[in-house]
């Protein structure tokens, strides 16, 4: 038995289209250890998000999967929706790209954290509310006891993403999937959110699957990196290896596409 927390083995996702079934994720394999962050990089349409959705069984209707996805040795692929409910948000939780549209505008952030906590842990509303306030405090939202009753639109973009992270971590999951969590945010706020994620990871020991198209972000947070191109895994290795000595042409191309401060620019 290996020490790996999360194993994706030969995962293939097939979506039905008007021109017949298309493999949007092809034979992807990677592992996430406890306390480890694995980055999944690629352009839009490379299958990063589909990989994440497949893990939680949230693929669009008609999608088919093959291969194996295991958390602590337990197979997740092919389980019923009902069965996966106890996994979603509880053992594996997810943070999405756009925090404004990912939070329901009709309910306070407190209620949205409470409903998740009570679904998995039960207990009274009061207890759940305390958990929600603590969760908000943990992601450094000032005046959490008051802010818990505010609605998503009353928060700034960065604060909203903090709320999403607080929610994702309120049931102490063993794996956090962050799907482009910083893409919709300002650069300075991006840095704060990355710092927060690293900090929380070091205190909770949660494994993290970090999806992004931004290599700069990945290099600062991930220990291992998987590069994807139109559904294919093209390169997989430690961050150091991938960044310093990319084997694949596509990875080199991605790395070259990142603007650097010492680049000469023709004006």
């Amino acid at each position: 038995m290996s020490d790996e927390l999360f194993v994706v083995d030969n995962l293939t996702v097939t979506l039905p289209t008007s021109r017949g079934p298309v493999d949007v994720v092809k034979n992807v394999s990677f592992t996430v250890g406890r306390d480890e962050t694995v980055g999944i990089v690629g352009e839009s349409g490379s299958g990063k998000s589909m990989t994440a959705l497949a893990v939680l069984g949230l693929l669009p209707r008609g999608a088919r999967t093959s291969g194996s996805v295991r958390l602590d040795g337990a197979e997740l692929l092919g389980r019923s929706d009902r069965d996966l409910k106890s996994v979603r948000g509880n053992a594996i939780s997810m943070v999405f790209q756009d925090p404004l549209s990912s939070l329901n505008p009709y309910y306070t952030v407190g209620l949205q954290i409470e409903e998740m906590y009570r679904t998995h842990r039960g207990g009274t509303r009061r207890a759940a509310r305390r958990v929600a306030i603590e969760a908000l405090e943990r992601v450094h939202i000032p005046d959490a006891a008051r802010r818990v009753d505010h609605y998503p639109h009353q928060f700034s973009g960065g604060m909203r993403q903090r709320v999403m992270i607080a929610m994702a971590l309120c049931c102490s999951p063993s794996l956090l999937i962050a799907d482009e969590p910083t893409t919709a945010l300002d650069v300075t706020v991006q840095a704060q959110i990355l710092e927060l994620l690293s900090e929380l990871q070091s205190t909770t020991g949660t494994g993290m699957m970090f999806i992004t198209h931004d290599l700069a972000v990945i290099s600062s947070i991930a220990q291992r990196v998987l590069v994807m191109q139109s559904g294919d895994p093209v390169e997989y290795g430690t961050a150091e290896q991938v960044f310093s000595d990319p084997r694949h042409e596509y990875t080199r191309m991605l790395l070259d596409a990142v603007p650097r401060i010492d680049d000469e620019v023709a004006l």
Binding site: S102, N104, H153
Partner: protein
Amino acid sequence: MMRYVLGRLGGVVLILLAVCLFTYLIFFKLSPDPAVMICGKTCTPERIDSIRDVLGLNQPLLTQFWDFLSGIFAGRDYGSVHCSAPCLGYSFQTNESVWSMITARLPVSITVAVGAAVLWLLVGVIGGLVSAVKQGTWWDRSAMGLALGGVSVPNYVLALVLQYVLVVKLQLLPFPSAVPFADDPLLWLESYLMPWVVLAVGYACLYARLTRSNVIDTLAENYYRTARAKGLSGALIMRRHALRPALTPITTIFGMDFAGLLGGALITETVFGLNGIGKMAADSIAKNDQPVIMAVTLLAAFFVVIGNVVVDLLYTALDPRVRVVSS
């Protein structure tokens, strides 16, 4: 919030004043001379003059309008006859007080509107919801096809067909009449059943299509995906993260539609011979009974304007984003 409410109510008063002025101008100034109409066939110029005098038609226009307005709030005198507040004048046809005509007929219109509203909300919203959840199935396609057909059928056609089949041929229902509930609950139900159905069909079809598209849009929202990723139960996801956002806009439309109907369902009431505000409007227009026409116009405007304000206030309670902007 209080300031918002007061502001809206102030707006209501202004709008109703404007509606009053316009209807007054249209019906009393651009229509045939009321004095001639009241005078009838055996008429002398002296008689016309005396009627003009009693109705105050010799006064300047603004004075006449002021008399009309103050009559509503304080009552007024027509010659030796005192018309107590709220005074909307007397019917040219029956000499009945317009206000008492309205109070006698309003319960009928309210019964028709409330019954139909309950029916169309139930059928439309539930139908649309099931269609959205079963999107693309045979149920969805046939329900939406039916809804398209239902919207297209004029309600007077439906009314006549139903009346012919259910009343004349099969004799399952009596001819509708405005029976008060307290007199005979069963007859009341049988009488109003057809008007309710006829009025509700068009709205139900419209609401079903609306609900369906709203729910489908909501199911594509990111927060719906979040709710699923949180592992919430199906019922909770449906209630909080699909229905609440999808149905909130429907309250706006419902408020408008319902308020419009309180001013009388003209066609339905006329076809079924129900003595409500709608039939009163139709009759008064046919006979050019100006005080009555004016009163029903004002009444309809009153309901629509009030309905609007109620919907706006309700919306601040239903949608937190609106609430914060308004405070």
